[in-house]
């Protein structure tokens, strides 16, 4: 059960108000030293977010990033005693943050940073490989329900968020940016310990999305065709095997 000391201390960390702590301190004026803890706590959270959202840091600059990360820490404090996955609501927060309201694509770029982090820490497991698939009777393929590897993240955006993200994290450049509205699909996943990413067409996105939802290959192929008339299910299946996107081995 929290007592007055801990409550006063936690309040002081949040607000900087140290008066309620004074009765517990041995010296008058010593409460100013609380800023050591306050700096550690706030700075630690900000740096954890910066490490998790490097594209956002590059896009908006470290000063604005600091201010937004600090505000996020106030409204979304860490709840787990580890910061490795802190920031799960940061993209949503950015979507509503007034200082970046002029960058409507920023939240979706942040979703790519978040997808990278989740893919990085996701469970592994042997993927379904081309050799596994070759061993299957062709007539069984339509009913196959492979599912997606736990690291796979599918993203959709009305902005070219993948392109912006890629050019601010994976291969940074300073070329002028275009942000034409449209419908954009992208994929992040981990293969051999490395997080990979690429853009998707509507058909392949629908195909993988259906597989991720537990659909058999045939249903997923139909979803792909419905999303994009020129969709090639055989090529998409081969690419999924090659990229280690599917769960395996078969049972």
């Amino acid at each position: 059960m929290p007592d007055d000391f801990h409550t006063a201390f936690a309040d002081a960390l949040r607000t900087g108000r140290t008066d309620p702590l004074q009765p517990y301190l041995a010296e008058a004026g010593a409460a100013g030293r609380l800023s050591v803890y306050r700096n550690n706590v706030v700075r630690g959270a900000i740096e954890a977010l910066r490490a998790a959202f490097p594209a956002i840091d590059r896009l908006i600059g470290s000063r604005l990033f600091d201010a937004l990360a600090r505000a996020y820490w106030h409204t979304h404090p860490p709840e787990r005693p580890t910061l490795i996955l802190y920031g799960d609501a940061f993209a949503d927060y950015l979507a509503g943050a007034e200082p970046v309201a002029g960058l409507p694509w920023l939240a979706d770029v942040a979703r790519h940073d978040r997808a990278w982090l989740e893919a990085h820490h996701a469970p592994g497991g042997r993927p379904l490989g081309a050799a596994d698939a070759a061993g299957l009777a062709p007539e069984t393929l339509p009913a196959l329900v492979p599912g997606l590897q736990p690291s796979v993240r599918l993203l959709t955006s009305p902005w070219p968020a993948y392109d912006i993200w890629h050019r601010n994290r994976v291969e940074p450049d300073d070329a002028p940016m275009r942000a034409d509205p449209g419908q954009y699909f992208s994929l992040l996943w981990r293969k051999d310990g490395t997080v990979c990413s690429r853009m998707l067409h509507a058909g392949e996105h629908a195909f993988l999305d259906a597989l991720g939802g537990g659909a058999p290959l045939e249903t997923a192929a139909q979803a792909g065709l419905a999303a994009e008339p020129g969709f090639d299910p055989a090529a998409a299946f081969a690419a999924a095997l090659n990229d280690s996107l599917l769960k395996g081995p078969l049972t």
């Binding site: 929290p2 201390f9 050591v36 959270a45 490395t194």
Partner: protein, 273 residues
């Protein structure tokens, strides 16, 4: 040495005699991925110890069972040579403050701390080492810190992780005698020693030393370390570095200096019973 991601490759390849690495288990509490794979590989070549920062043993709330379960799973997988946590708190009411906050040195806090240490030791089925904190705030202590630690050792059977830099920093900040502190802790309970660097506070200057782990170990800390080793006998010693991380070789040099002090102690009669 503290194991940092930027040193994974060097750590894996290092062959120095007796070299071991320490990690914060909290940084390995993901579900999978390359970080865990690196630790698996390094663990195959070197002993690894676990040094927790998130259990909030010195706090008023019950221990986070999920966090303790994750600890158990990781300890089961990596079989750390030693496990340790802090005399500090970091969580309150489901909110995590990622720092080691000061536990008041009171009877109530002592009782709770001992219960928490017991709970951690029962969960992990092994002895836990408890680390003395860096202190910045002069608080109205009812129990001197060495006595608080000694009583914890007596009641729970835990060991101590003596952080020499923390003693130096706290002694400076709170105005006590570091050597007297060393004399007051139960030397026979010490199972690991930490060495690290500190900085002056940006605002208050030399009046307040901060345990940053961002600089080489200071001469005064080396000297205090030698005094500690005379009391405790040679103990596994960690060079801690968490910020401004230099080249692996630079840390190896600090580690070699500690090794010389340990070797000299080994060549003498054991200083403790």
């Amino acid at each position: 040495m503290s194991l940092k991601p930027e040193h994974y490759r060097s750590a894996l390849d290092a062959r120095a005699d007796g070299l071991w690495f320490e990690v914060h288990p909290e940084n390995y509490m993901g579900d999978g991925g390359p970080r865990l794979a690196w630790l698996d590989a390094i663990r195959a070549n070197h002993p690894v110890s676990f040094h927790g920062v998130g259990l909030s043993l010195g706090g008023p709330d019950p221990l986070d069972r999920d966090h303790l379960d994750r600890w158990k799973r990781l300890a089961g997988r990596f079989e750390p040579a030693r496990v340790s946590e802090h005399l500090a708190w970091s969580s309150l009411g489901g909110r995590y403050f990622n720092d080691l906050l000061p536990t008041p040195m009171t009877q109530t806090a002592l009782d709770r701390f001992c219960e928490h240490v017991d709970e951690m030791q029962s969960a992990l089925q092994r002895q836990v080492l408890v680390e003395n904190p860096s202190r910045y705030l002069p608080m109205r202590d009812d129990i001197p810190e060495p006595e608080f630690l000694a009583e914890t050792v007596r009641r729970t059977g835990c060991g101590l992780l003596l952080d020499i830099n923390n003693i130096h920093v706290s002694a400076h900040n709170l105005g006590f005698d570091a050597r007297a502190y060393l004399d007051a802790v139960p030397a026979g309970a010490v199972g690991e020693i930490h060495l690290a660097g500190h900085d002056s506070d940006a605002g208050l200057g030399e009046a307040l030393l901060i345990d940053t782990h961002g600089r080489p170990v200071s001469e005064s800390v080396w000297s205090l370390y030698e005094a500690a080793i005379r009391r405790t006998g040679p103990q596994p010693t960690l060079i801690e570095r968490d910020t401004d991380i230099p080249a692996f070789e630079t840390l190896l040099q600090e580690r070699a200096r500690a090794q010389l002090i340990l070797d000299a102690a080994r060549s003498r009669e054991p200083a403790h019973a």
